[in-house]
Symmetry: C2
């Protein structure tokens, strides 16, 4: 029984690491958002895939919250001299992955194949599956027009007001065939033990995954509990613009609103203990609920939450 | 009156720096071998152009003899982990130039345009003109088949025995139009003051330049003295495989043999003082001769040789 975890950036990767610590590599698979991928300096940058791979490899940069640990910035300083854009920072060590990926994509490899190879090179045994091998590019709609996601997120530091999102290319994107083989109808693996939506941004990390044509049906048809963990704790996002986006979209920045966002897909919802008072609201949506500590500061926190989520899914 | 200096790698760049120190930027232009350019890790690597540009910019790495100063190797160490080839080393700082060049070439810029831009970015005011914007690739012929130049030179450390050379693509290569504009018939500049063949490897640094269709005629027609400086001193090359190649090609490793190699093009030849005894041999080839110190250890040596060559050309 394999657990499938849908994940985006840092928050998702924390729970993913917990799952990776408590499950055997063949008992879990990660489905990763690629809506914030983009082309930069001729490289295919896949921030959520890389955050997860580096996290699972023990190579994530804790100081920055992105990129690779023990990083140096000699390239970036020299790049400034050449007038190259510097708003998105690629470290000297991180460049190895990007140069490798570009080489392999140019040779015709899929993003999934390249990701598997980078996982092997970095010692990651779990399947890390981009949601699709086809390009999907999240655009953030604002009153002044739309922005490519990384322009919104990194260059403009989430300052613009959000009015909505578009996922360019989504209509033509196919579900990662390796994911279909593991999870879809006639999948080679057993019925999944659970599908977990990690505490990632619902709008820009999870929704692109769910918007790949056929994804929702495939998840629903799997016959497993589908559990979302709230990325909103006490009305705030632990990290990132989730709460700000909700306010701008006229959605209350609450765990309940996140549960409502996912309600037609999920069967259960995990709230943080500080949101225990909202459990009844969520249950009223027809969802099973669990309340636990969801804030993951330490590795032990990640492992504890993974165990709690798996226990909840098994219940 | 502009001086045109034909140059390849390190030895040529030394004299080029001397010329750059004694002439105003509009009194000199450098014509650079691109026969040892190659594609590596998806980058266009142009070793002779870069050696010259970094040298003129005061950015050359003295310790390695190639690449950029104050270099670090974080990328290379991470690249090993991804199984990327590591026989050709690109430093973290040097990557900025390569990523910039790839971007600009992908946008349709010529190698000459990119080189002008990198010069401007690094504060190099002199024209640095690749011999051609078209791809020319030197192959080294050996008893076991032919090798791409960088495989011979860097990967195999010049160990294979040389039986000859081929310049792939040379038939279809056009002279750099900016060079023709400065030097060719109807050139916008005055008649050149001199054409100087720097002390570079005759076979793999200078011959590719001279083999571009029309190059020899253009140089001869310029009506200027054409002066070669011997890269062979006392039967040895200061650096690189010139002497080894000559022995393998059954050519005596002597300054005289270099003069003979160029005799149908040049009008004068500069020998090192330790080869003074060969001056008569060279004069017997019908060439004007000058004997001076050609070994360039210090910046003063570079400047002194530049002055000597210019004085000889003016005589």
């Amino acid at each position: 029984m394999r657990v499938f975890a849908l994940t985006g950036g840092i928050g998702g990767a924390k729970l993913a690491l917990g799952l990776a610590k408590v499950l055997a590599p063949d008992e879990v698979a990660f489905v990763v958002n690629t809506g914030d991928d983009f082309e930069h300096l001729g490289f295919h940058v896949s921030p959520d895939v890389d955050t997860l791979v580096y996290t699972l490899a023990g190579e994530a940069n804790i100081e920055t919250g992105w990129g690779r640990q023990d990083e140096s910035w000699q390239f970036m300083r020299a790049a400034e001299q050449f007038g190259l854009p510097t708003w998105f920072r690629l470290g000297d060590r991180d460049l190895a992955l990007h140069i490798y990926r570009r080489q392999r994509l140019a040779e015709g490899a899929t993003l999934t194949e390249v990701t598997r190879e980078t996982c092997r090179r970095l010692g990651v045994a779990q399947p890390v599956l981009p949601m699709s091998n086809d390009p999907v590019r999240t655009r953030v709609l604002t009153p002044d027009g739309s922005l490519a996601f990384q322009h919104y997120f990194v260059r403009d530091r989430c300052r613009p007001t959000v009015t909505g999102f578009e996922f360019d290319g989504i209509e033509d994107a196919s579900i990662n065939p390796e994911l279909s083989a593991l999870l879809g109808a006639g999948a080679s693996s057993d019925r999944p033990g659970a599908i977990v939506i990690c505490p990632s941004n619902p709008f820009v990390s999870v929704d692109p995954i769910l918007a790949v044509p056929g994804m929702r049906d495939m998840l629903r048809s799997a016959g497993a509990p589908i559990i979302a963990v709230s990325p909103i704790v006490g009305g705030q996002a632990i990290k990132g613009p989730t709460a700000k986006m909700m306010r701008e979209l006229d959605i209350p920045a609450s765990a309940t609103a996140v549960a409502r966002h996912y309600r037609d897909l999920i069967t259960g919802f995990v709230l943080d203990e500080c949101d225990a008072s909202r459990e009844a609201e969520v249950a009223d949506l027809g969802l099973a609920t669990a309340v636990t500590r969801t804030v993951m500061s330490s590795l032990d926190d990640r492992i504890a939450l993974a165990r709690d989520v798996l226990a909840f899914a098994g219940a």
